[in-house]
């Protein structure tokens, strides 16, 4: 089987992770899955929301949004419409839950990290790119907080890493990391979030066309497991390489 862009069914698009893309943010990553381009900015602030005060635990949350011309035809801004759409809420919640799965909020102390994932260009897989990039930005923000003495050097709020990838059934075959032309014609579409040690954080599968059976579900999970492992390696490499110096 040949995919429209020449990839094999189990092949990721070219993935690039550029750290410290911004100067102000405590951690920031421009993550690219092919033409999909998401800017993930992690903001570390002391203190927690009111409902958490005095409990000795921190808070990690995320907000996802698309720029109006990230897509092929321009969409109206949600700020102008005066309401945030269901899809935007849904993905923001997904990214936040995924990050909290590898955070020890006790070890974070009463501090808050917000990760903003703004889609600069969309070509399928914006939510999985967001999770994958957000983890790296989060790791950098925690390192920055330690460097500035806002967290003790011994604190270990990260209990692991997290990455995400989409899988789906396109033209009858299971494929990894769908781009927009694939995504818009997929019969089944699944987003899988996994930890660096290969366990599941989120499995969200939807039959867009025909319902799917247990065997197909197994094939898709196999593809996703391999894809997340590859992304985990790319995250680790990015975090080990030297990053651009922030201009402060």
């Amino acid at each position: 089987m040949t995919r429209h862009d020449g990839r094999t069914p189990d092949q990721l698009r070219e993935v690039r992770i550029t750290r410290n893309w911004l100067d102000h943010a405590e951690g920031s990553v421009l993550v690219e899955f092919g033409r999909t381009r998401v800017l993930c900015a992690a903001s570390f602030t002391e203190g927690v929301p009111r409902w958490l005060k005095g409990k000795g635990t921190g808070w990690v949350t995320a907000e996802y949004e698309m720029l109006p011309r990230s897509t092929n035809t321009r969409s109206d801004r949600e700020s102008r419409k005066g309401r945030v759409g269901g899809r935007t809420h849904e993905i923001s919640r997904l990214v936040g839950r995924s990050l909290r799965a590898i955070i020890d909020t006790k070890a974070l102390g009463e501090n808050t990290i917000v990760i903003d994932c703004d889609v600069l260009q969309a070509d399928g897989g914006t939510r999985t790119a967001s999770v994958t990039g957000a983890y790296v930005a989060l790791a950098d923000a925690i390192a920055d907080a330690k460097a500035r003495g806002l967290l003790p050097a011994s604190a270990a709020p990260l209990t692991g890493s997290v990455a995400a990838v989409s899988v789906g059934v396109v033209a009858g075959g299971a494929v990894l990391d769908l781009d927009y032309p694939e995504d818009s014609t997929a019969e089944t579409d699944m987003n899988v979030v996994m930890t660096g040690d290969g366990r599941f954080v989120e499995v969200q599968g939807t039959a867009e066309g025909e319902p799917f059976d247990r065997a197909l579900l197994g094939d898709l999970l196999d593809l996703a497991t391999a894809g997340c492992a590859a992304l985990t390696a790319l995250q680790r490499a990015a975090l080990e390489a030297p990053a651009r110096e922030r201009l402060r």
Copy 2:
């Protein structure tokens, strides 16, 4: 293993499906999963939204909302807050997608069916009860449209049935159909939507505590498959029994 209410791990709560609970709606169901009580009202209207006009296909969508005192402590109304929350959007979209999975929109003609799922009382599993009840209300609305000549007698817009159930890991063990005390302490929580012939429409699993592995995922899917089959039988029985006459 004993559950706090005496059920076995693979046992559903008592499920009741009361058809024609309302007089105006073309189809309506009061569905109860134990103390969870959802009113599903299906409204059939001729015509489709603007973006579908002239394409010869129909539209099915759903809206989910909780009454302010459906929960243990009162929540503010979303109408008063002026914005619909992320969870409400997410569940509305899930119910709509689930129903569309078993609808042939061509066979529906240019007609719209909206299913309103209003939670009168919440005790866990409101989204799965909504999907399960909504299917029955949808079937009744279609029958009503045929009876009134709005759809030809030969039309078959329903390509199957759909039901949903939650599964999760509570106190280390996999269990079916979690009530609120179980749901709020579950380590993993999964909602599964299946067709009457045993295929998957939606699989949404989330690790609330520890990430889960492939074996546990398999156990949960087994439980869900059995649960959905039981719900499918209850739906069929409800649709075959005579229903209360609507007062028009």
Copy 3:
């Protein structure tokens, strides 16, 4: 004169008051005036809104809303429209004022009771059914608070009872408790809220067609006085009968 449903001009529809219809709410009533069906849930919480703090008095308020398919044709949800309509506000305020007329807020202490009146099915008279049912839910919530020790056994925050009914001029004659077909063709429409001892709390009369004179106003008030007395008796009977046990 014959009414379209066979009632005499001074006859109420069949009224049913079902207490403890919900398990969570401190007081709850499903009230039915014929096909009109309103769920009234009273929520008792300790503390008062900020502007009342430290004054030693409690607060009682109400919120009214219609489910989208309570009506003959589906209406859009106010939560989705992002704004609460004028009619909804107006009725919420009416129900709240009516209940406060028979509440001694000093005797309530610094506690708040919110009564949610959600119309499950509408066939005329939803606001008068709401007031009538809300009173019973309020009485139950106060009894519950005493039983749980949140109010002293000797406290008497209720200074009386309150009930409401509509009257109007249909086809030239004055009638009691209009259903929707009558209401939509009435020349004059009046809602009257009265205490159990026969005094007026609210009188809201509107000439939909011809303005009305003083004699007709008198006839309508006579009908309403008798109707409220009958509703008062039904409320008392409901409160004296044993209620379903709440499952907590």
Copy 4:
């Protein structure tokens, strides 16, 4: 009994009706009930809202709002809060209904008149002043439409006149036309809208303190009837006197 400002119980405040206070509006009135000052502007436009198109009837509606510093202490603007409050909606609806009671919408043709009632200064009775002033602005807008040939000279869309006044029980006695100090301490408060020929359009009585009995209700209606008759005479005199020339 003496009132705090020296009036007798059945005495109106000084009422002033200044026509053509604005230059652009087809009809405009600055109406003053003592220190209460409301600007009523009637806008005549050809055409009707979509839901009335092609029915050959016109539409009259009203919008009421208070300037932020019309009151003794400044209130936030509803435009900034992003939502229109319940009281504002309620009064807008009351004014609109009152005007429609004396309008023959057939005779108006497919034209719309919107009356904006903006409270410049509030000292009690803003809704009754609004109705009373709005009628005069409406009459002027209709005359203007005839003068400009937008309505045939023979058209008679006004079937009468309408005026409104408040009555209430203050310090145990029934009084007419309450100002703010009286209104804020009244036990019962009633707003009455009447036609020029002495019939009722709206009766809205509320027991703020003690519920009221039938005899007291009668006394209040007597006072209101006399008050509305006096206002009707003032409206007629204003409409017969020459008005300021509009600068166009």
Copy 5:
């Protein structure tokens, strides 16, 4: 060159400043630039917004809004639309900045003055009339606060005066104080805010048609300088004349 209303290019419209037009507001002015009529109400309150607390400085801000029928054809209310438009925000911010330019917030102590500028009738120049009238209302509110002992008699929060005027290029020539017919056809439009001692606070010039060159900019600034000087003299005269007594 002749202007359509007979003025010379450097001539203001007739300007009227009526102090204490309202009874409740600490300072209030009805300012008229020809047919443009703006009601400016200054509200003095003790205390400051949260972000200024404890800094020993006061706060002055402004809100501008147009009544729906202030304009030639009726505009929808921003409160009903649920959002405040860009132009309204922009002018509110301009008026606030202009006033703060002549306020010593230290000398004001921890007090807040809000100036509401509501346009009752619009005929061009509503923002410049607002600034000019708001200054007088502000001065009166400060005097009132001293008279009531809320500010020490020796406090001097006003460091000068401020006035504003529009200039523009109409039919090829530079003119002062444009009315609506001029404004809507102007090639260049500039609003200038100046202190009483002839310095600039705001210069906002916009080429509506052709871009303008430096020489023309100079001519416009000359006109504006003379216009603001004339307005400053009118403000001073108004503040020195005896004002109507407020009825409290």
Copy 6:
């Protein structure tokens, strides 16, 4: 005088203009003024808003927004707050007006171009960078429309070019192109938009501290004139250089 970053008073920051930074947008530019980084995306669509239909003219408009972590400390999203702030509206309007100054809407035909200016990183001068980058994106979108045959090759909708720069008084001296540390301490702040042939489109000067006199205004305009000329040259160079190929 030395500036904190070593520039001379009349020196721009390093300016970079990267064309075709996006693949979908008809024109797109990443514009950098030092650390300020704005993504300008021009969307060309056939047709015009309803109020322009059938007039044979096109429409150009702009929307400006800041990403939440573009600033030094994170700001809340306007989409989440449910309302667009005054500053955002003001700058959006400024950018739109600036572009329309050099557009012949007749020559554009009934087509719409929306330019989205999203601030990825803010360090002062975001509005002037937006205007400067937006012009280049607009020019590219027009060239693209010609290449695709949506505009005739002979059409010349651009009547010139437009660029913008800020000037201000910092530490007593007039300087060009303020960065954030300068901007936040400036006594006077002026934004100037000029055409490529050296004429003014917008002059917006504000005294943040002391009001300014005519001589200082002259100095600031001199600086801005030179700065805009330099930016015009950079725009021209960018448009003449070959651009990255878009991946479509």
